[in-house]
C-alpha cells in the first residue's frame, strides 16, 4: 500500500512554463539515500524503493529526480539520469521509482542491492495540474510511462476525482502497475499488443466510450507518440483539456544547460521549451508529436 503524499503544482509554477523565472524556488536537494529494495516487477521493469527524508520527499505528481547511477571506468554514466517518481510517502520516508534497463545508467541502477546508497537530486520540474471542477479524468500510458501517471491518479483519487486508467503493454505478462492503479481506486482497462487490443483505433474507441459516459473531464498521457497524437485529436475534437509528460535527454535538470529542449506550438507559434524546467508536464495540445 502506498499512501498519497503528492500534491499538485500550483499556478505560479505553471507560470514558469512561459519562460519567466520563478519568483520563489521550491528547494531541490542532493542526498544519498539508502536502497530498501530493488526488485524485478516483471521481465522488463524494476521497482526501486529508497529511504529518503525531506526535502527529498516533498514531491508533486509528475516531478522527477536526477539519479547518480553507479558505474566506473571510461563508460561510466557521466550525467545523472532523470527518473519520474512512481510513489512517494513522506511520512514513512520513502521514494520509489519504476524503471526499465535501457543503457549504462539504468544497468547501474539494476545492480543496486538493499543497503547500497544512491545519490538523488530533486524533486525537479513542473508536475501535473488538476483544475478545480474536474470530476473524472482519463490517464493513458504504456510501460514506464505509467510510473509518471500513478502519482497523478493517486492525487486525483485523494481529491475524490474519478480515474479511468488505460494501461497498455506488449503482452499481458508485461502489464505494469495494474495493482497499484487498482489500489489507488482507479477503474483499470488493460490493453495489449498480443491480444490486439492496444492499437490506436481500439484505444480511441475505449476513450470515446469514457467520454460518452462523462468520465473524461481531462486526458493525461505519457511516453507514447501514437497515444499522444490520438489524444490530441480527441481533445481538440471534443474540447477536452489534457496534459502530457515528456522525456528528453537531460544534463543539468535545472534549466541551466538547454540540452533538453523540445519544440512546442504555443499560441500558434513554434517555440522551444526546456523539458526539465518548463515541464516535464506540458499542455496536451502544445506538445508536438515526434
Amino acid at each position: 500500500m502506498v499512501q498519497a503524499m503528492l500534491s499538485t503544482d500550483r499556478a505560479d509554477d505553471r507560470a514558469q512554463a512561459t519562460g519567466i523565472p520563478p519568483a520563489t524556488g521550491k528547494p531541490a536537494a542532493e542526498g544519498a539515500c539508502e536502497v530498501l529494495s530493488n526488485a524485478r516487477s516483471n521481465a522488463e521493469y524494476l521497482h526501486l524503493v529508497l529511504a529518503a527524508a525531506p526535502p527529498l520527499t516533498a514531491v508533486r505528481a509528475g516531478q522527477f529526480f536526477q539519479l547518480r547511477c553507479p558505474g566506473g571506468g571510461p563508460n561510466a554514466p557521466f550525467f545523472r539520469r532523470p527518473m519520474s517518481v512512481y510513489a512517494c510517502d513522506a511520512d514513512r520516508g520513502r521514494v520509489e521509482f519504476l524503471y526499465k534497463v535501457h543503457g549504462v545508467g539504468t544497468r547501474g541502477l539494476a545492480g543496486l542491492t538493499p543497503g547500497d546508497r544512491l545519490d538523488l537530486f530533486g524533486p525537479l520540474g513542473v508536475g501535473f495540474t488538476l483544475a478545480d471542477g474536474w470530476r473524472s479524468i482519463v490517464v493513458v500510458g504504456r510501460g514506464v510511462g505509467l510510473a509518471t501517471l500513478a502519482p497523478l491518479a493517486e492525487l486525483a483519487r485523494g481529491r475524490g476525482i474519478g480515474v479511468s486508467a488505460v494501461l497498455s503493454a506488449r503482452a499481458p505478462e508485461l502489464l505494469m502497475s495494474v495493482e497499484r492503479f487498482e489500489e489507488i481506486g482507479a477503474r483499470v482497462f488493460t490493453v495489449t499488443d498480443s491480444q490486439r487490443t492496444s492499437g490506436p483505433a481500439r484505444v480511441e474507441r475505449l476513450i470515446r466510450g469514457l467520454i460518452a459516459e462523462g468520465k473524461a473531464d481531462a486526458l493525461f498521457t505519457c511516453g507514447s507518440n501514437r497515444l499522444l497524437e490520438m489524444l490530441q485529436r480527441l481533445g481538440r475534437e471534443r474540447g477536452i483539456p489534457g496534459q502530457v509528460a515528456l522525456e528528453q535527454q537531460m544534463a543539468c535538470g535545472l534549466g541551466m544547460c538547454f540540452c533538453c529542449v523540445r519544440e512546442f506550438r504555443i499560441d500558434g507559434a513554434l517555440a522551444h521549451r526546456r523539458v526539465c524546467w518548463d515541464g516535464p508536464v506540458f499542455d496536451l495540445q502544445e506538445a508536438l508529436s515526434w
Binding site: 519562460g19 519567466i20 523565472p21 520563478p22 524556488g25 521550491k26 528547494p27 531541490a28 536537494a29 542532493e30 547518480r68 571510461p74 563508460n75 554514466p77 557521466f78 550525467f79 545523472r80 537530486f121 525537479l124 528528453q248 535527454q249 544534463a251 543539468c252 535538470g253 535545472l254 534549466g255 541551466m256 544547460c257 538547454f258 540540452c259 529542449v261 523540445r262 522551444h272 524546467w277
Partner: protein, 315 residues
C-alpha cells in the same frame, strides 16, 4: 578567518568561485544559496534571436561531456525585460557574457549591456559553436585584438575575455587580449570534439561536433592557465573540469586568480559551494590567511626528501 577576496581587473569579488557561462541559470537557487558565490556569470547572449542547434545537444565521454547547445537566445528585449530583473535579487556581481558574429556586433552588444545591474562583461570570443562562417575570433591573435578593442571601446565596465583552448599558442592570444584592453582573461572555453555511435554510424551530436568539457580536459587547461599567467599581467580566471576544491586550487597554484565551475554543477548541483568551502578549509589547514597568496605559488625547485616519501613508504 581566511580572507577569500580577490580583485579581478577592477571588480572585487568576495571569493574566487563562480559559475562558467552556459552552465548556470537562476534555477540553481533551488539547490544552493547563490549569494555565497563570488560572482554570477550568465549564459552568453547575442543580439539576434537564435534557436540553437538540433538535438541531441549533449553526450557523455570518458570523464567529460560534449555539448553543441549553441547560443539559443531570446533577443535583447527578453534580456532586459526578463533576465536582468531575475538576477536583481542576488547580491554577487553579475557578469554578462556576450558574443557576436562581427567586431561591430561585439561593440554594439557591449554598449547595450552596459547597464545598472551589470558588474562586468565577459566577451566570449571563443565559442566554437557559432554558425557564422566558422573560426572563432579567439583562434588567432589579430582577430582577438580587434574584437577585444571594439568591446573595450564600447563599455567602461570591467572586461573579461574568454579564450579558446583550441589554439597552438594560448600565451600569444592572451597577450593580444591584454594589449587590446582586457581586464582579465577566462581560460578557457571547450575543446572542439566529436563522438560517433558506431552502431548507427552517426555523430552523437545533432550538430556533429561540439565542445568537450569536464574533468577530462583539466590537465590541458591547467597548463594553459600557467602559460597565460606567465605571459600577462592581468588576472587569469581558470575554467575547465573543476569538480573539487583540490581541482580549483590546482588552477590557483598554476596562476589563476579565480575559478569558474561548469560541468561539475550538472553532476553535483552543490559543487560550487563545496569548492568554496574546500578552499577555505585548505587555507586554514595550510596557514594561508589571504587567499591571493596562493595565486601562482607553484613550487618547481629541486624535489626534496619528503616528496620522495612514497618511494619508501615503509621506512
Amino acid at each position: 578567518m581566511v580572507d577569500l577576496g580577490v580583485d579581478l581587473g577592477g571588480l572585487t569579488l568576495a571569493n574566487p568561485v563562480m559559475p562558467a557561462s552556459g552552465t548556470f541559470a537562476e534555477g540553481l537557487d533551488k539547490a544552493i544559496d547563490l549569494d555565497l558565490l563570488g560572482a554570477l556569470v550568465i549564459k552568453t547572449i547575442t543580439r539576434q534571436r537564435r534557436t540553437g542547434n538540433p538535438v541531441p545537444r549533449v553526450c557523455e565521454t570518458p570523464e567529460g561531456m560534449l555539448n553543441s547547445i549553441g547560443i539559443p537566445c531570446e533577443g535583447m528585449a527578453y534580456f532586459h525585460g526578463t533576465i536582468l530583473p531575475a538576477y536583481a535579487r542576488f547580491s554577487p556581481p553579475l557578469v554578462v557574457s556576450i558574443s557576436a558574429p562581427t567586431v561591430d556586433g561585439f561593440a554594439d552588444l557591449a554598449a547595450e549591456v552596459t547597464r545598472p545591474g551589470v558588474a562586468a562583461v565577459e566577451a566570449n570570443i571563443s565559442c566554437p559553436n557559432l554558425e557564422e562562417d566558422g573560426k572563432a575570433f579567439a583562434l588567432e591573435a589579430r582577430p582577438t585584438e580587434r574584437a577585444v578593442a571594439a568591446v573595450r571601446g564600447a563599455t567602461g565596465l570591467p572586461l573579461w575575455v574568454k579564450l579558446s583552448p583550441n589554439v597552438t599558442d594560448i600565451a600569444e592570444i592572451a597577450r593580444a587580449a591584454e594589449a587590446a584592453g582586457a581586464d582579465a582573461l577566462v581560460v578557457a572555453n571547450t575543446f572542439l570534439a566529436m563522438a560517433i555511435d558506431v552502431e548507427t554510424r552517426r555523430p552523437r551530436l545533432g550538430a556533429v561536433t561540439g565542445g568537450l568539457s569536464g574533468p577530462a580536459i583539466r590537465p590541458v587547461v591547467v597548463r594553459m592557465v600557467h602559460q597565460c599567467h606567465r605571459a600577462v599581467e592581468i588576472p587569469v580566471i581558470g575554467c575547465g573540469g573543476i569538480l573539487t576544491a583540490a581541482d580549483a586550487l590546482e588552477y590557483v597554484l598554476a596562476g589563476a586568480s579565480a575559478v569558474q565551475v561548469g560541468t561539475a554543477t550538472f553532476l553535483h548541483p552543490t559543487a560550487m559551494t563545496a569548492v568554496l568551502d574546500g578552499i577555505a578549509q585548505y587555507c586554514m589547514r595550510h596557514g594561508v590567511r589571504t587567499f591571493t597568496d596562493l595565486i601562482g605559488d607553484l613550487r618547481t625547485g629541486e624535489i626534496d626528501a619528503t616528496d620522495l616519501e612514497w618511494a619508501e613508504p615503509t621506512a
